[in-house]
Symmetry: C3
Subunit: 151 residues, 3 copies
């Protein structure tokens, strides 16, 4: 009996990472996708829950347009950053999120943020999004996860 | 013997979330409480450890006063945000933290932050705070938790 | 057989914390080291993975130089903050990271950030750094950890 209980406890925690993407800062979106793609490559399941400013990045054209903002703080020009990123084999956000999906990652869009912002599903990259959902879905994913981050 | 050891390991991890609330940004306090209330509703235990700028929000009148700051970045006016939040059934922070307590959530105040800032317990919402404590208490809570976030 | 499997699952999760230090803000570096040192003191293993702006702080002289920046937002002058930190027994970042190492903590430097920034190992505090590595090393550490944070 005890063994059964223990096993069900073990089974409820998968080798899974669930990340809230709250920030829309480009450097943080990079971090979320670098960690996500790394975890997928190493055999984990990964869910990204896009909310608040993070969700803005899922708008059509939202991933790679706009200023590199804080990235400039490296003290480098925009061209220099791009050149060095290429040299370091860092792909564009658009390429990275496509890889994320191809590797089997799951993308969730926060419907409360959509309602407050007046964003409709058709404004978003529907090709990337697996589900439009509320915090309960996030909690369910997080409860199954051995690794949780808020970015 | 082995089984006993394993069971004690399993028992040490409750279905519990522990969140450090380091930021005082209104959008991040919202995220902390939305996640916290969601987790409580789904049967988890939840502890919020308020520190640095987060702790400022626990001052009397600190939750709903002040500018919506970054919330303006949605590109919406203050009235419009409030109207849409009402429509999306998003309560005020004051209502959300009251709900958090009624659902059984625990609120911890970082005493080191209080000492550095010269804040006394009577400056804070003592009706909400379960304990004034140091990082050791947070670590103890986190060690028992299956889900940890830094917001 | 089942017991063996379960035990190997339990063993794969150590009493360990792995923290991504993405921010270079002084208040967040403080939080990372306060949590890290607290966890080490309570018997946990701790790895800090410095990336993006966090990695800048590992440059020679990068920890305690520079403006206290956001710390000023407490509304206190620089001298007052230092005085109160002393009174609250909060050490300098340089002292805290030395303690972190002496308590057995591990420091990892993100090599992708180094490549993009054009930073060489000799620019960094090599006396503190255990390894120069990529996201795969972080994921491996995180998979073994019961506590994961992104700061």
């Amino acid at each position: 009996m005890e063994d059964k209980n223990m096993q069900s406890l073990d089974n409820s925690k998968k080798n899974k990472a669930t990340i809230i993407v709250h920030s829309g800062d480009m450097d943080k979106i990079y971090s979320a996708l670098i960690v996500g793609n790394g975890a997928l490559s190493m055999g984990m399941e990964v869910s990204l829950y896009f909310t608040f400013w993070g969700l803005q990045r899922l708008k059509k054209g939202g991933l790679d347009k706009g200023p590199l903002s804080k990235m400039h703080m490296f003290g480098l020009g925009k061209m220099m950053i791009k050149k060095r990123m290429n040299k370091a084999n860092v792909a564009s956000l658009d390429k990275m999120i496509t890889d994320f999906k191809e590797l089997g990652g799951k993308i969730l869009a926060c419907d409360m943020t959509m309602e407050i912002m007046g964003v409709k599903p058709e404004d978003l990259r529907q090709d990337l999004i697996d589900d439009y959902c509320a915090v309960g879905t996030y909690i369910q994913e997080a409860m199954e996860s051995s690794m949780t981050l808020f970015i």
